[in-house]
Amino acid sequence: MEQSATYLGLIPLFPLLGAVVIGLLHVFTCNRYKLSEKFYGLLACVGPVLSFVLALKVLFALKALPPESRYLTHNAFTWFSVGDLHINMGFLADPLSCLMMLFVTLIGTLIHVYSIGYMGGDKNYGKFFAYMNLFLGSMLVLVLGDGPVVMFVGWEGVGLCSYLLIGYYSEDRENVLAGNKAFIVNRIGDLGFVLGLAFLFWAIGAQGFDYISLKANVHMLEPAIALTVCLLLFVGATGKSAQIPLYVWLPDAMAGPTPVSALIHAATMVTAGVYMVARFSFLYAHVELAGTIIAWVGILTALLAAIFGMFQDDIKKILAYSTVSQLGYMFAGVGVAAYSAGIFHVFTHAFFKALLFLGAGSVIYALHHEQNIWKMGGLKTKMPKTYITMVIGALALAGCPPFSGFFSKDEILYSALATGHYGIWLIGVFVAGMTAYYTFRMIFVVFHGEPRDHHAYEHAQESPAVMTVPLIILAIGAVFAGFLNFPGVLTISHWLEPSLTEHHHSSAFLQIIAILASIAAFAVGLKIAYGKFGHGAQEPEFKGFADFAYHKFYVDEFYNTVIVQPYKAIGTAIWKTIEPNVTDSPVKGAARLYMVVGAAFKVLQVGYVRVYAIYMVVGLSLMSLFLSQSLN
């Protein structure tokens, strides 16, 4: 028996209200008198903190319930009801959404605090926090929604905030274009999502289009429709979570401020796709083919992104490709039906990736917005707190035991092995090695060796406490979060059980093989990175494959030539050629016909009265003939 909890609606509402208040304050005061930054900062943190407190309350409430009925619902109001389509603005808190909510609000709060320092001096300070609060509210709607349509509201909402925040420094065309790209590519994914929802609705949605009803009715789905729905929903996920072929927006998204990259493009928004697959585990568990496709797309994305990450020179781009790569791992996890493993990696990744981004932000801030790693170096003595926390994050990312990344990544690889997906496992191990390589390449080049740009180095100093304290808290999470799902004990997996449709495999032998392979991959990657970069390397010149990878296999250029330019060309063609000559030609033709016929008749109007007299005579004669005939 579910319990109703009216406070569930407040969880997304607080940040949304914060966004409205801050936004209105900013819009009405920014050109006249400026409010103090501290005021905005404080106001901005109210929403996330309150949501976090409520999330904790939900956690304790859920723990008090027995596992079979471990969920709380709240139906705020009927959103729209047309015939068989009945959608409520409802919220569902079960173990899965509770876990997501907790780390979203926690990391969200930390990043808000961090931003108070990072964004200092910016002239649109209020606007930034309004957008950030709006984002957090949308993300919470996404996670807490009780049905796919409410999730879609949050889905699009986070897409909107992503657009607004990427293009935040809107004076530069590049940044706004990056924002446009993100929104449009996301929308392409959303098209798939909406189509999937439509098919799902017409098949089983009439008895209720929320997760609980769908789960109850899923057995009535015909297999072909189920596969179609699964794949279409996954298309939406590739857009939102940057998988092949729609990952191209994420590296460009680094044009936004670093806290944005940390929150949206590392910890929360991009994981929405993984959350969606896990949420629909009752559907995906039925269609093994869909899962396999997802897993392969995921692991190939992981591979591709890792290759790109190995050659980038912008610190944020390295982390961006790293995010795409790790997302690939998460999809590999949920694809092989190891949903809890995938979600666990989402959880740990949120901590260490946010940590790495915020640390990178700290470095960028210290060096006055320098982002090229080949202009950094030797910073470990100047910024010890940043250095230590980033090393912790890097160890977690690279999968070094006993940090959190090791446990989550290992769980995924083990699941791939245990379900017989050997190819995925092998690629996964290889990518793990590459991950270690590029992560430590970044660490060594930025923090070790001699400084490459002495001027910037002189002015560098450790960041203020408002920025380093969140780093430390996240580092603690990156270290200890792994223990929440220790192999064998699997606390989180058991916690998530009521929400997911999952089988657990247990094979100690395979477990050990997976662990050993992961550790070996980490060690190899670290060693190669140390060998090449540990002692102060210079910026390399790329040739051949390396150059090709540095230019990201020219995928962006390819998309531009094959999609963007033809689209614009068709637009121009329609406007200049097709419209005037093809679609308008019947209309123009009719007008011309009229004129031509008129000109033909004009010949009869000679102007000479005598000719008119002839016309009269002829006409009269014909008429009289006709009359005389008809009178007969």
Partner: protein, 98 residues
């Protein structure tokens, strides 16, 4: 027997039409119109004789009166036309040309 008069009437009418159409001088056109009117008069009188009633005679009288009035107006128009263009050739007046 009456048909002789009718033939004559028709011939006169056609001659009048030909005159209206093919002559260029305005006066000749009007003379042809008068000829047409007289042809109609002849037809009326002939039929009146056949039906032995006076209706035809009455109508013929009316036609003559109308012809006289029309001639007066027409001559006034001719004077104005002459003032306007200085010529009395029907081909010259072609403002109605489309």
């Amino acid at each position: 027997m009456i048909h002789n008069y009718l033939f004559l009437s028709v011939i006169l009418f056609c001659l009048g039409i030909v005159g209206v159409i093919s002559r260029r001088n305005v006066f000749t056109v009007f003379m042809s119109i008068e000829l047409m009117l007289n042809a109609a008069n002849l037809a009326f009188i002939a039929f009146s004789r056949v039906h032995e009633s006076m209706d035809g005679h009455v109508l013929a009288m009316m036609v003559m009166a109308v012809a006289a009035a029309e001639a007066a107006l027409a001559l006034a128009v001719v004077i104005l036309l002459h003032k306007h263009k200085g010529k009395l050739d029907t081909n010259v007046f072609s403002l109605l040309k489309g």
